[in-house]
Symmetry: C2
Subunit: 438 residues, 2 copies
């Protein structure tokens, strides 16, 4: 098949007829497929069921230091959980604070605290005329939702294969003291699956922000979420790099076990410098007496240590890998030669980023939906839900079964083709009109 752009109007119309027939057939199938969110599949949840057996009525729920996990107390998490999460987050246990079940909640609370209290003694952001965040795009919709909710102005920064455009980031943070943060998913990024290059991380650690309350919001959600045993991305540890650069307090690092154990029933954590942790704990002790220590202990007893966790992640990879490969294969096979789209091919994480021709993403997602396939809303990967080129679609392969996924990708690529043909035909028509008018 030759690129659509090189086809004549007649060829395209013939192709459209053929593809439309296929699409109509899909519509009779009453499909209900959901690829909208990065949700683990049932099969993945099943591999963690042993977690329900490690604690029982006969098991002592006491920590090594004598803490009874069943009672009040221990604001920053039990020692054993700090050690486990510290290994997962590649920092020392002293730099960790264990939270509840959701790292999104930790991030929300971090922004909320900055709004009403400021950061390490700075003016509370709610007292400022303007607060801005940098948002590498495409990015994670729930990040953008937090900053939008708090009335924080979002400035898009384009992603490159090495991470955010660092020239732009450096210039912006150095010149504008109303810029207080940047959202990052530095490893297997949402939605591209890109991992920041060594150079990018080093430049992040060496930022010279005009605002002393500027922080990097380093959401390392996919730190151990590899697809392959050996072909893994490696990310320079940001806290250590900031320390080396003399920028100790520059970063908040977030993670959770949501996609390790059970989403919604895992444990989340923040890692940061001592100065930041003191500032956070001053607030946290007002907010709560402590998080769920029994669940912390459950995780510790189940995984044992980071090695147990890594072995567990292999089982997840074994389930997810074929799904990523099925998506990539379908895209290559169906669209590879057509020059109407490109996509990423990640080695980990939960997403593939897909770019259609400009102005086609919304129409593709709508067309999918009309045949029973729910994709992440077009535009969701941009601040305010507005993709200026209307081309980016996030593909989340994890939740459907493999056979459903194959079917879904058949439908998806079909919709991409149909919408692209319409777009090219419309352009051709425009050109003809322009010629006629000339």
């Amino acid at each position: 098949m030759k690129p659509y752009m090189e086809m004549t109007k007649e060829e395209l119309l013939a192709l459209k007829k053929e593809l439309s027939a296929q699409y109509k057939e899909f519509q009779t199938k009453d499909l209900r497929l959901d690829m909208s969110r990065g949700k683990p599949s049932t099969e993945q949840l099943d591999i963690s069921m042993g977690m329900m057996d490690v604690l029982s009525g006969n098991v002592d729920l006491t920590c090594d230091d004598g803490t009874d996990c069943r009672n009040y107390g221990v604001l920053d998490g039990i020692k054993e959980a700090k050690e486990l999460l510290a290994d997962m987050m590649e920092v020392a246990p002293d730099y960790i604070l264990i939270y509840g079940n959701s790292s999104l909640n930790v991030m929300y609370d971090t922004v909320s605290r900055s709004m009403t209290q400021g950061v390490m003694g700075s003016t509370p952001w709610c007292k400022l005329d303007k607060v801005k965040f940098l948002c590498p795009v495409p990015g994670y919709d729930r990040h953008f939702a937090i900053t939008e909710y708090f009335g924080i102005e979002m400035i898009s920064v384009p992603m490159t294969p090495d991470g955010p455009d660092m020239d732009m980031v450096e210039e912006l943070v150095a010149s504008d003291d109303s810029i207080k943060g940047i959202w990052c998913v530095p490893k297997y990024s949402n939605p591209q699956g890109i991992s920041y290059s060594d150079e990018t991380v080093r430049r992040f650690a060496r930022l010279k922000p005009a605002a002393k309350d500027f922080r990097i919001y380093w959401d390392n959600a996919y730190t151990i979420h590899h697809l392959y045993d050996h072909d893994q991305d490696h990310l320079i540890e940001i806290l250590a790099e900031c320390k080396r650069a003399g920028n100790t307090d520059l970063v908040y690092k977030f993670a959770s076990t949501s996609k390790v154990s059970f989403p919604g029933s895992g444990i989340a954590a923040i890692a940061a410098s001592q100065n930041n942790l003191v500032d956070i704990k001053r607030q946290l002790k007002i907010q709560t007496i402590g998080h769920d220590k029994v669940n912390q202990l459950r995780h510790v007893r189940y995984f044992g240590d980071i090695h147990g966790m890594i072995e567990h992640m292999r089982k997840h990879a074994d389930i997810i890998r074929p799904k990523f490969e099925a998506v990539i294969n379908a895209l290559e096979q169906e669209l590879g030669e057509l020059s109407i789209a490109d996509w990423t091919n990640p080695k980990g994480g939960y997403f593939i980023s897909f770019n259609s021709l400009n102005g086609c993403a919304k129409a593709i997602v709508t067309k999918c939906k009309k045949s029973g396939l729910i994709m992440t809303g077009a535009g969701a990967t941009y601040p305010y839900g507005k993709d200026p080129n209307d081309c980016n679609i996030r593909i989340a392969p994890s939740y459907p079964t493999l056979s459903d996924l194959v079917l879904a990708m058949e439908l998806f690529t079909l919709c991409v083709k149909l919408v692209s043909i319409d777009k090219i035909l419309a352009e051709k028509k425009d050109k003809e009109q322009t010629k006629e008018n000339a």
Copy 2:
């Protein structure tokens, strides 16, 4: 023994000598007793251990409506948990939103949200010059800590045996639109164990606040925490009463299972009108994808229904009741005739409120500490930690064993006597001086 006030200087000095000897003996015992917080005892935690057995690797973690509790989703809590907590909170399940492990956290979030977003469309409190809360005193230190943390001015309102002084509450909220809330522990109050009278609740529901974003923060922490099977306080349900009074949106009601199952590993909830819930959920969906549904299911499967919960609370009562009685007995026996103190005698909750002679509370708590008994800090029951009369001490009988408690009360009453004698002697001296000078 006659009242201390009626004793001569010589009698008091002789008594002081005798009691000081007893105190010195205590100091040699190297005691380490903690009565500072309302913590369940180990014996109480043991009765909930069955909770660790209801879920296992072989148990289906699916809700009746098909929700897989192990995956993301369900912002407001699983249906079964809503039903259980609704029965506990005496409202319909539709008026409930299930949160994480801590009702304190829910209250903090509620105030925090009002600071940055306002209440149902009102001006965010952080944009106002002045925000005030009414604080019935003595009251709960962690409530006061939240309002102090957010820079909210606290106005003390005296408690009566029927609840807060409602004449004062009505007048203040009607006349000052910067008053945005009032902290209430309406049943078995912290620290007095007072339950608001029917009249008080009715007047609360009929408040006419000047501020349309005024809310009653109704922390019903001890709703089913009775000491006795039959001799129980009854509280009019505030949401229904507000509805009857045409004041549907006036109240946020908070509760948790912290002192039902495991503190820190329970589930918390808010109950409020539909308008309020819509306002809260609009924010909550930005903050989190959902709370821990597995733990919600664990509670539902363990308690079954409200009857199971009530039966469970009987077991707690059987452990706590003798402790409350031991405290009351010690107070009556040691201080009953001395006219140097009074105290409450609650039928539920976790605390007894003790009033010494004015100006003695701090000295008593310090004297206890020097012999190894930690009481709640004097002043803690007042906003900003400042008890204007320095007389109130919160007694928390639940955590120590019964034998430790008997010992602790021996020491406590001894300290009360010694500090009171010093106070009376000092007053006598002042009077003599005044006479001499005259």
